[in-house]
Symmetry: C2
Subunit: 333 residues, 2 copies
C-alpha cells in the first residue's frame, strides 16, 4: 500500500462545455480511518452522464459538486482498514468516494457487494444505479404491456441496454435508438432488440416510423433533444414517456427547443421525469429481480473499461459525446 493518495478534483465549472481543464490531479497524504470509519482502496470508478450536471451549480436533483474537492462518483473498492465491525479487510464495497485512489467513509455510507455470482464491477452498472434506474423507470412509469412497442434511446448504454432487455422479457416489441451502425448491430444481435435506429444516419423520423409500424406505446428517454422530438411524432394514444436522461442537452450551450408538445395533448401522453433516488427504499426489490436475470444470462451486459484514474475526465467527455459503448468504467487499481 502506497502512503500517498491521488485525487482528481473539480477545478472549475464548465462554461460552454466540459473541458479537460475543469479537472486537476493532485497527490495528498493517505487518509486514516477514525472511529467507526473504513479506509477503502477504490478499484472501479463509475462514469455516468449525471456527473455533468453535478459539475454545474444550476438547480438539479442534488447540490453541485464542490470545487477543489474530489469529483463525485460511485466506486467499488476493497476495504483496507476497518473500524466498523460490519466490514473486514478484503470486503468489496460500493462507495460514494469519488475520483480518488483511496478514501475514508463511515460504515453507514458503504454497501457490501457479493462478487461470488457476478463481477464486483456490475454493482456500478446492471446491478447498480443504472440497472435499478432501468427497473423502476420501466416498471413504475413506463408500465409496458405485452404486445406494446417500447422505444429506448441510448440503447447500448448502461441504462438503455437493461431497459430494452426487460422490455423483451415483458413481451414488448423493442426498438432501440443508438449512435452509429456498430452500436445498432450490438443492440439487435447481442441484446436481442427487435430493431435499432441509428440517429446519426440523418433520417431519424422516417427510420423510426419504419421500425415502429404500430406506433410507440412507451418511450424510455435517455437522450432528449432531436431524438425525443422525433419520438414525440410517433407516440400512440395513452402512451408513456419516461424522462430518465437528456444527455443531448447536458453539455450544450443553448437549450433545445422541443416542437411537438402538441403530441402530448392530442395523444394524452403521460410524460414523467425520474431519478432513481426516489425509490431508494426499494433498491433491494429491484436487485432481487435483476440478479438472477443477470447471473442466469437472461440480461446481457457490456462494459467499456478505461485504465487509470488520470483518464477519468476523458472517459466522462466521451460518455457525454456518445463515444462509449456500454457501461463506462475506469479501472483505478
Amino acid at each position: 500500500m502506497a502512503d500517498i493518495n491521488t485525487q482528481v478534483l473539480l477545478a472549475s465549472r464548465p462554461k460552454d462545455g466540459i473541458a479537460p481543464d475543469n479537472f486537476r490531479t493532485v497527490t495528498t497524504p493517505l487518509p486514516t480511518a477514525g472511529s467507526g470509519e473504513v479506509l477503502v482502496r477504490n478499484v472501479w470508478l463509475s462514469i455516468d452522464p449525471y456527473m455533468r450536471g453535478r459539475m454545474s451549480d444550476a438547480k438539479s436533483y442534488v447540490p453541485a459538486a464542490a470545487l477543489d474537492h474530489p469529483m463525485v462518483g460511485q466506486t467499488v473498492g476493497e476495504v483496507v482498514v476497518s473500524n466498523d465491525r460490519r466490514f473486514a479487510p478484503g470486503d468489496m464495497v460500493l462507495t460514494q468516494l469519488g475520483w480518488q485512489h483511496y478514501g475514508v467513509a463511515r460504515g453507514s455510507e458503504l454497501t457490501k457487494v457479493d462478487a461470488s455470482r457476478v463481477p464486483a464491477s456490475y454493482y456500478l452498472g446492471v446491478l447498480g444505479m443504472p440497472g435499478v434506474t432501468a427497473w423502476f423507470g420501466l416498471t413504475e412509469i413506463g408500465q409496458p404491456k405485452p404486445g406494446e412497442t417500447l422505444v429506448v434511446s441510448a440503447a447500448s448504454g448502461a441504462v438503455g441496454s437493461v431497459v430494452g432487455q426487460l422490455g423483451k422479457l415483458a413481451g414488448c416489441r423493442v426498438v432501440g435508438i443508438a449512435g452509429g451502425a456498430q452500436k445498432c448491430r450490438h443492440v439487435v444481435d447481442e441484446l436481442g432488440f427487435d430493431a435499432c435506429v441509428d440517429h446519426r444516419a440523418g433520417r431519424l423520423l422516417d427510420d423510426l416510423r419504419a421500425a415502429c409500424p404500430a406506433g410507440v406505446d412507451v418511450d424510455f428517454e435517455n437522450v432528449g433533444g432531436a431524438v425525443l422530438d422525433a419520438v414525440l411524432a410517433v407516440m400512440n394514444v395513452r402512451s408513456r414517456i419516461v424522462i430518465c436522461g437528456l444527455i443531448a442537452e447536458y453539455d450544450a450551450a443553448t437549450a433545445y427547443g422541443y416542437t411537438r408538445m402538441r403530441s402530448v395533448l392530442v395523444n394524452r401522453i403521460r410524460m414523467q421525469g425520474m431519478i432513481v433516488f426516489d425509490w431508494k427504499d426499494r433498491y433491494p426489490e429491484a436487485l432481487a429481480r435483476l440478479i438472477p436475470l443477470v447471473a442466469g444470462g437472461k440480461i446481457r451486459y457490456r462494459e467499456s473499461v478505461v485504465d487509470g484514474l488520470e483518464n477519468a475526465p476523458n472517459a466522462l467527455m466521451d460518455v457525454l459525446r456518445g463515444k462509449n459503448f456500454g457501461k463506462q468504467l475506469v479501472r483505478i487499481a
Copy 2:
C-alpha cells in the same frame, strides 16, 4: 317557424391561420324529422378553442370537420318536432348539431337539460364540456392538495375560471395567468384567485416567481407556448402539469420550441395530456359535484355573448386570439 334553414359551412381549411373565407353561409330547406328523429331549433352555439383543430385535417382526437358541411359544435336548443317518445316540443336539449339554425338528430344523440336551477346556456360551459374538463383534469391529473400552489392559464376562460375556483375550494393558493389587466382584475376580484399574472405585460417569468413564492405544484395548462415554457421554470419537485389546451399553438404557422424540458427531469414532473372524452362515462359524477356549486354561488361564471349565427366565425377568431372574456357563446335564436 320559418321554412328555411341557415347554415355556416366549413368552406376551406386554414392555410397559415384561420380567416373569414374559411366559412360560407348558405340557406337550405328546413330539414324534417324522420322516424326516431327530433327537429331542434338551436338557441345557443358554443364557441371553443378545440374547433380550430377540427378545421384542419392533421391527426387529432377526432376526425376533421367535413368541408361543405355545417361547422361542428355543441348547441343548446329547443325541441320543435319529436318522433322520439323521450322528447317533447319545448324541451331544452344539448346537441352536436353545429353551426346552423335548425337540425335533425336521433334521440340518442341528444341530452335533455334542466334549466330550472341554472340557465340552459350553462350546459355549454360551466356545466358542459368546459366545466367537466376542469373537474376531471384537476382532480384526476392535477391532484391538488391543501396548501399547494396551483397555476391556471387562460384563467378567465371557460375552463380556467372553473379550475381556479375548484382549486380554491380544495385549499390551494391559486394563481391565474391571463391576457390583460382587465381579465386579471376579474380573476382576482370576481373569481377569488389569490393572484393573477398578465402574460402580456412583458415580464411573465419574474411576475410568476413573485406570485408563486413557494413554487408551483400543479399547472393547469390551457395556453402553451411561451406561457408554458415560463411555468416550467417555476415548477416544484414532484409537481404535475395538466396539458388541457395549447391555444397559443393552434393557429400559429410554426410550432413553438419549448426550452425547459430539463425541468421535467430534474423536478420529476408528471405532465399529462387530456381530453374530456376520456371520462365520458363519468360525466354525471362531475355534474353532480358542479351543479350544486354553481347553483349555490360557490362557483362564479361569466359568459360572453355574440348575437347572430353569421357572427360565429368572428367569435371563433376572437377566442383564438384571446379577445373573448369568459365562456364564448353565439345566440342563434
